[in-house]
Amino acid sequence: MNAVIKAENLGKKYIIGHQKQRGGATLRDSMAHTARGIWQRVRHPLSPNRESIDLEELWALKDVNFEVQEGERLGIIGPNGAGKSTLLKILSRITEPTTGKVRIKGRVSSLLEVGTGFHPELTGRENIFLNGAILGMTRQEIKKKFDEIVAFAELEKFLDTPVKRYSSGMYVRLAFAVAAHLEPEILIVDEVLAVGDASFQKNAWERWRMWHRKDER
């Protein structure tokens, strides 16, 4: 069989404590912590984990093994905090695994969020190009699909308006339209389809099915 994604012993460790005090992890805190660590070590040279004073390890993923075959679709479900997004982040190379490895064959696009990198001051037209490039499209591809994207988003009239003047629905439609015109071999999606109003959601689902059909060809 032809496995396009193969994950072996995947594990991801986070050190919380540092994560909790986001923005508060200043140089001073860190130096104080280091100093305390050194002092601890001097006093108890044999104590194993001095780090545990104010840091805690958290394994978001541990020993994850799976394979995805060509043409296959894999859904991952689980409660909040189960590690779904962490797994997707590893697959899309945003963060590196602590242990194990993944082999991926093919062009990957990941949609963990729609509208990543949109700049509020830029117009709809400019943001289509920018966002397309961020998602991994080449300039040629974007030019070729530009009209389709605009039609899908139903925003012909507002192409030269800065997106900061868009309603949130328009914003999301534009963002999704760009993403929907990616043509990857492997698509990684986090809960991004739940956007827009009812009629737009219908369009989005249709687009989604088209993707599937293309796979089955």
Binding site: A25, S30, L91, E96, E121, L122, E126, I134, T138, R139
Partner: protein, 272 residues
């Protein structure tokens, strides 16, 4: 079909391959910086002329007018202007790249691409500003009838030296800023203090001979002296040992900065 292997620690060869593969993103992000720079301003791109012009006037008045520092046969405004251009190029890259990662945090946590592209694009918008501001210098030189000679052809190399220095520092600060937000407070200080510590408002020939090598430990001293040497004809001389020190430091700063950046970038999405 290309195969990607995701595992802890990426090889250096992969790094270069990816950088090449993502060159279009570099182009688009630089293009965005330029587009966004003067959106919703009335006079737009004129700011790129006004900012250096005002700094030049202030420095000329303070150092040339009030402190009456010597400038040889060179008109004081030209002496200052030849230094302000590379200085603003440097400080603009440093400021933009130092803050760039935190400013683009949503991109870092949601999409993959070689992170080093983000601070590096600051070079493009700063270069555009430099070119526009160059008009002031050209106008001043015309006004004073000051003709540069062939040495002006060295300018691109000197600009590269300024870019290496500022990008090197920008990589260090940008990467450190991801974890320690202290660094975003340090940059404005470097920029403000550096303006007076570097020979922008005065000629570095004022520095006593025995201190000049030490003074050249600031890589921007080499860049600014080089600019004056290239632009002001025989009026400016180049202190060679100091210049070589500056080149060495600029290259060291750039290489260590890039290495530190690529070593820490794997953790960016987790700690930013």
């Amino acid at each position: 079909m290309n195969e990607i292997i995701i595992e802890p620690n990426k090889s250096l060869k992969r790094f270069w391959q990816e950088l090449w593969a993502y060159r279009e993103l570099f182009y688009f992000l630089a293009w965005k910086d330029i587009l966004v720079r003067y959106k919703q301003t009335v006079i737009g791109i004129a700011w790129s002329v006004i900012r250096p012009l005002l700094s030049m006037v202030i420095l000329t008045v303070i150092f040339g007018g009030v402190a009456k520092l010597p400038s040889g046969n060179t008109p004081y405004p030209i002496l200052v202007c030849a230094a302000i251009l590379p200085w603003q190029f440097f400080s603009s890259i440093l400021t933009l790249s130092g803050n760039s990662l935190v400013a683009n945090r949503n991109m870092i946590t949601k999409v993959y691409f070689p992170r080093i592209i983000i601070p590096s694009t600051s070079m493009v918008v700063s270069f555009v500003d430099f070119l526009i501001a160059f008009v002031i210098l050209a106008a001043l030189m015309l006004w004073y009838g000051f003709w540069p000679n062939l040495k002006i052809l060295v300018l691109p190399a000197l600009l590269l030296l300024a870019a290496l220095t500022s990008l090197g520092a920008g990589y260090w600060i940008g990467a450190l800023n991801v974890k320690y937000r202290d660094f975003q407070h340090i940059v404005p200080f470097i920029v403000r203090f550096g303006l007076y510590a570097s020979p922008v408002g005065f000629s570095s020939s004022l520095v006593p001979e025995k201190w000049r090598l030490l003074y050249s430990l600031n890589p921007m001293v080499g860049v600014i002296d080089g600019f004056r040497w290239a632009l002001l004809g025989k009026e400016a001389s180049l202190y060679l040992p100091g210049f070589l020190v500056s080149i060495g430091l600029a290259i060291t700063l750039f290489i260590t900065g890039a290495l530190f950046f690529t070593k820490t970038e794997r953790k960016f999405a987790d700690i930013i």
